[in-house]
């Protein structure tokens, strides 16, 4: 579901009036948890990094792209990865209006539900997998979400530096760089350009991402 298309359609002009446009230059912060804001926004143009910040570390949660929606009331920080334009509304204003519109209630529920699913995927990765498994899992998810098949395999354009990928899997630039080189040597993938990889063997990534190399146990539960 793309909220941008909805906001730009004439029949929802009541809603679009509640949103104002804001622009951010590449690398500028859009929101930090120190701000007490409670806003909902839709990305009109550009890409936004959603991350948790510790005193001297960062952990990436998601990259928002055109059409994605997000709310600012969490502990996550938001940074423009490219020159970015967002449409933003106060959550309170939006909530009052959305309550009267089945469409927007469900849209907002869907957005929150997707973010919840994403965070559970991340917890799964952090709780059960070592760095190499997490990297395989991350690349696999990127390939499934936005990979494009060609003769050599599946092309994934992450648009991310190695450091930024490291901040997705909770590791350092050096470690992730070493792992990517190993995977290239093993014929799993080839680096095409910054952040762009062709994955030759999705199956290898699947094996690498699964939390155990042992044969899968059949789990039984009491009925």
């Amino acid at each position: 579901m793309n909220m941008l298309e909805v906001l730009e359609s004439p029949e929802h002009s009541d809603f679009s009036r509640m949103f104002r446009e804001r622009r951010f230059l590449k690398n500028n912060m859009i929101f930090t948890p120190e701000e007490a804001g409670n806003q909902i926004f839709v990305v009109k143009r550009g890409r936004i990094r959603v991350f948790l910040a510790d005193e001297d570390k960062e952990f990436n949660l998601a990259i928002l792209k055109e059409g994605d929606a997000y709310t600012t009331h969490t502990r996550a920080s938001l940074q423009a990865l490219t020159d970015t334009t967002i449409l933003v509304s106060e959550m309170q204003t939006f909530g009052r209006q959305a309550a009267d519109s089945p469409y927007f209630s469900l849209a907002t529920l869907t957005v929150l539900g997707e973010h919840l699913r994403n965070t559970l995927n991340i917890i799964n990765r952090l709780a059960f997998k070592d760095i190499k498994m997490r990297l395989c899992d991350f690349l696999l998810q990127e390939a499934r979400d936005k990979g494009e098949e060609n003769r050599a395999g599946v092309v994934v354009s992450t648009g991310l530096s190695v450091k930024q990928i490291a901040d997705f899997v909770g590791s350092t630039r050096q470690t992730v760089s070493t792992l990517l080189n190993e995977m290239q040597k093993d014929g799993v993938l080839t680096r095409l350009s910054r952040g762009k990889y062709v994955i030759h063997e999705l199956g290898e990534l699947e094996n690498g991402a699964s939390s155990s190399q042992r044969p899968t146990m059949v789990r039984r539960r009491a009925d």
Copy 2:
């Protein structure tokens, strides 16, 4: 916000009719991700453990109690910790009705928003903190959420075994047991009974939970 009170009030009988009662005995599974269900439920009685399951490990996400709401469409598993009664509805049916009711749309948004906040807290813990910090952070949050002050300090009734606490912080029973014993020896807390602790020094937990022992740096950002 307690959705149970709402469901039990006469003015929302339209809604309560969409929910049916289901009972589970202690330790029984209420939902596993292998089931394709997409339901929303409210806890009427009992306590439910929400967790991620790997082949041979588990990671606890939350304990639901009376009045809490949850949806089953994620990868999380649900287990009755005590004899439990839930009121359950198909999400689709609920969504159609809720779309017409400002109250239920907002209630559902609030529930999802709270779960999202909880998962971000967990990611923060996993990404930035070692086991001891996570344990301090976990106890601190329990104390803040449901601690009761008495002369000796703040009494926290987690209702959890040491193994279950370990599954909240991503560690083993042995490690968490050792850490709790150390904290007792250091006078930070005293174990009263299974899962029940009195915390003498909340400040010690705060120090232990912060990700750095160094003085907090003042972070500056370009405006």
